[in-house]
Each structure stands twice: as structure tokens, then as C-alpha cells.
């Protein structure tokens, strides 16, 4: 028994790192990386406030951001009035606007793939929090400084 204990201790030490490595490989093979998942065409579904004010201890029902407020919020953003976002694998993002025009941007993912960096003609950079990304949809958050309303949640559905 003592001999077995003596033998098993070094084996445990030697096995620790390969076991962790195997677990890492197993986990990483279960899922696609966010920079591969995001590639494709996405349609904007909604713009909502992440949190809404309370009145008389009840949440105000209207989380949805109406068109005119949305335009006001987005007027200084690169993504202003885009309907469809097309992420290309070469790091380019095409914003197809509702008037038929297209804007070309650069996109990068940072951190563990939870920050979306958008760059417009090397002049303007914006960061969005990529909160959820799955096969059919994506949720982005961004902080709006005006009107102290806080964080806006943009929801997308995947078209192609």
C-alpha cells in the first residue's frame, strides 16, 4: 500500500499537466471561436435599454428605443442607421444602410472575444461589448453618455 502511494504521487504530478492540456483541447474543440462565429450577415432586430427606470416601484414597460431616439443616439456613432451588418473573414465589416449605401469598416475582437472594436478609416474607433453570440443571434451592448439612460442593447439575427 505504501509502495503504491509512493508510486502514485509522482504519477499524479506528471499526469497533472497532460490532463489539463487534454481538457483544454477537449473544451476548445467543442465550439467555434467568436471570430469565426461572427462572420456572416446580421440584421438589426431591436435597440433596447438594458435597464429602465422605476416609477412607483414598478418598472416602466418601455425598454424599446424608438426610431427617433435611436437616430439621436446613433448620430455620432460609426454604425449610424445601419440595417444589416456583414462581417467578412478578412476583418472588414460592411454596413448596409436603409438608403442603399454601404459603409466599410474594420472589425477586431479583443479580450476573450467579448469586445468588438470597430474602426472607421483609421480615424474613429468604437468599442462594443459582445455580450452574446450564438448560431442564430448576437447581442451587443454599448454605453450611451447622453440623457444618462445608460447602456443600450442591440440585438441581431443572422441572415446568412
Amino acid at each position: 500500500m505504501t509502495a503504491l502511494k509512493k508510486f502514485s504521487r509522482p504519477v499524479l504530478y506528471v499526469a497533472f499537466f497532460p490532463v489539463c492540456l487534454a481538457l483544454f483541447i477537449l473544451l476548445i474543440s467543442q465550439d467555434k471561436s467568436p471570430d469565426r462565429k461572427i462572420v456572416g450577415k446580421w440584421r438589426e432586430v431591436s435597440w433596447e435599454y438594458e435597464k429602465v427606470n422605476r416609477e412607483n416601484n414598478q418598472l416602466l414597460p418601455d425598454r424599446k428605443i424608438h426610431e427617433h431616439v435611436r437616430n439621436e443616439l446613433a448620430q455620432d456613432l460609426i454604425i449610424h442607421r445601419a440595417e444589416t451588418w456583414e462581417f467578412l473573414p478578412n476583418g472588414k465589416l460592411l454596413l448596409h444602410k436603409d438608403d442603399g449605401s454601404t459603409v466599410r469598416l474594420d472589425w477586431k475582437l479583443k479580450g476573450r472575444g467579448h469586445i468588438l472594436k470597430l474602426n472607421y478609416a483609421d480615424e474613429k474607433t468604437e468599442y462594443y461589448d459582445l455580450n452574446k453570440l450564438w448560431q442564430e443571434g448576437m447581442t451587443l451592448y454599448f454605453d450611451v453618455e447622453i440623457q444618462a439612460k445608460g447602456i443600450v442593447r442591440m440585438t441581431f439575427e443572422k441572415i446568412t
Binding site: L27, P34, K108, L109, K110, G111, K132
Partner: protein, 259 residues
């Protein structure tokens, strides 16, 4: 700073080691947040993120964060393995080697960032992994050689201990305790240095970008060199003292037993 081990270390040794390494950790952490949007000197947050990603079922992110935590662990493991492995025979080498590996890692990050970094997610994940390994090495080294007294890459424990100490100082009997005073001095030095490192990295990053990592490496190199030259001068002083003592002994012997 590095050459003394555990119980032989003075407060001054610990303050010097703690301040400089905490300064480095503060710089690395702020630089990594600004460039890569992830912390590298502390992993408490990574555990929270790991739990969050597991609950969301994002297995790719789970693997990445698990890998980062494992690399921090591996860094600490390696540092202690070197310190205890080479320990008594070649102590200065044992203490300098983890720092030398850390310099290699951080210089590598700086060099790659300046020359080749294309901001892809894979590159970001790898560079963060290298930095977490480097911070694990540093934390493992300082904790190992100071008998777990100096931990410089995160401040959760430091602030907790400071809170406890300051609470104790409200009572007269503890205010007179020299050991507690020394502990508070060390913890304050670590906290201030970490903060200073962070502020400086945050301020200069916009102008210097990845050059910040060369500055960090230079500070680590200074720690190694300082110790090396200090050790040599100490050896010279000791040799001189031994020669003087030996000379005096010969003189007394000649006087006591003239031929």
C-alpha cells in the same frame, strides 16, 4: 533583494522587492487592459469569467480562460520549482532565473506587438497567455523567497490585510507592536507601487504603446543587476574583513610568540 531567503530577509529587503515587482505588475496589468481588454496580473476576475462562460455554455471561451488560469498556475509552479531546485547551491541564480524568464516573456510580447501584431483574436489570446505566465512566475518567485509575505501581482489580500492591521491599530497594545508596523509599511509600499505602476503605464501607453513592455523588462533587469552587484560588493567587503581579521591574528600571534 533576491539573494536572501525566507527568515534571513529584512524589512528593507522585502520592501525593495515588493515595491519594484508590484510596480511592474501594475504596469503590466494596466497595459494589458488597455491593449487587450483583459487583466493579466490577477486571476480572481478570470475565475468569475470562467464561471460565467460555463453557465452560458461558451466552451471556446471556457477553454481560453481555463488555459490562462492554468498558465498563471504554471508560472508560479515553475518559479518555486526553480527556487527550491537550485535553492541552496546557487541561490542568486535560482532567484534570478524566474525573473530572466519573465523578462524574456515580456520583451517577447513587446517585440511581437511592435512588429507583427495584427490584432487578431488568436494573437490576443496567445499574448495574454504569455503575460499571465510571466505574472505567475513573478508572484511565485516573490512569494517563495519571502516565505509567502510578498505577493505583488494582485491587491485583494493586501487590502484585506491592511484593513485588519488598521483595525488593530485602533487599540493601543497593537500600535506599539513593531512587527505589525513593519507589515503595514510593506503592504502600503506594495499598494502604492502597484498603483504608481498602473498610473504610469496608463499615461505613457498612448505615446509608447508596446514599448511599455521594454520599460517593464528594464526594471526587472535592474532588480537582477542590483542584486548581482550588491552581492559582489558584499563578498568584497567580507573578503576584506576576513583579510583584516587574519592580519590582526597574525600580528597578535607574532607579538605573543616572538621567534
Amino acid at each position: 533583494m533576491l539573494r536572501k531567503f525566507n527568515t534571513n530577509r529584512t524589512l528593507a529587503d522585502n520592501i525593495k522587492l515588493g515595491s519594484l515587482t508590484a510596480f511592474v505588475a501594475g504596469m503590466v496589468n494596466v497595459a494589458s487592459v488597455m491593449i487587450f481588454f483583459a487583466f493579466t496580473s490577477n486571476i480572481t476576475g478570470h475565475f468569475a469569467v470562467l464561471a460565467e462562460e460555463i453557465s452560458k455554455g461558451n466552451w471556446y471561451q471556457v477553454a481560453i480562460v481555463f488555459g490562462w488560469i492554468l498558465l498563471f498556475f504554471t508560472g508560479s509552479f515553475t518559479a518555486n520549482f526553480i527556487v527550491t531546485g537550485l535553492g541552496n547551491k546557487r541561490r542568486q541564480l535560482a532567484h534570478a532565473l524566474p525573473l530572466a524568464i519573465e523578462i524574456l516573456c515580456l520583451t517577447g510580447v513587446g517585440l511581437y506587438g511592435q512588429l507583427w501584431y495584427g490584432e487578431t483574436l488568436t494573437e490576443t489570446e496567445w499574448l495574454l497567455a504569455v503575460m499571465l505566465f510571466a505574472m505567475g512566475l513573478q508572484n511565485g518567485l516573490t512569494a517563495s523567497i519571502s516565505n509567502f509575505t510578498v505577493k505583488t501581482t494582485h491587491l485583494t489580500g493586501t487590502i484585506t490585510d491592511l484593513g485588519i492591521l488598521f483595525s488593530m491599530f485602533t487599540r493601543a497594545e497593537y500600535r506599539k507592536n513593531r512587527e505589525l508596523h513593519n507589515k503595514a509599511k510593506l503592504l502600503l509600499a506594495i499598494t502604492c507601487s502597484y498603483l504608481a505602476g498602473g498610473i504610469i503605464a496608463g499615461s505613457v501607453y498612448l505615446y509608447l504603446s508596446f514599448v511599455v513592455f521594454y520599460i517593464v523588462s528594464a526594471i526587472l533587469l535592474f532588480i537582477i543587476c542590483y542584486d548581482h552587484f550588491k552581492l559582489r560588493s558584499m563578498i568584497r567587503v567580507r573578503q576584506k574583513q576576513t583579510r583584516e581579521v587574519h592580519g590582526r591574528q597574525v600580528m597578535y600571534r607574532d607579538k605573543a610568540y616572538p621567534e
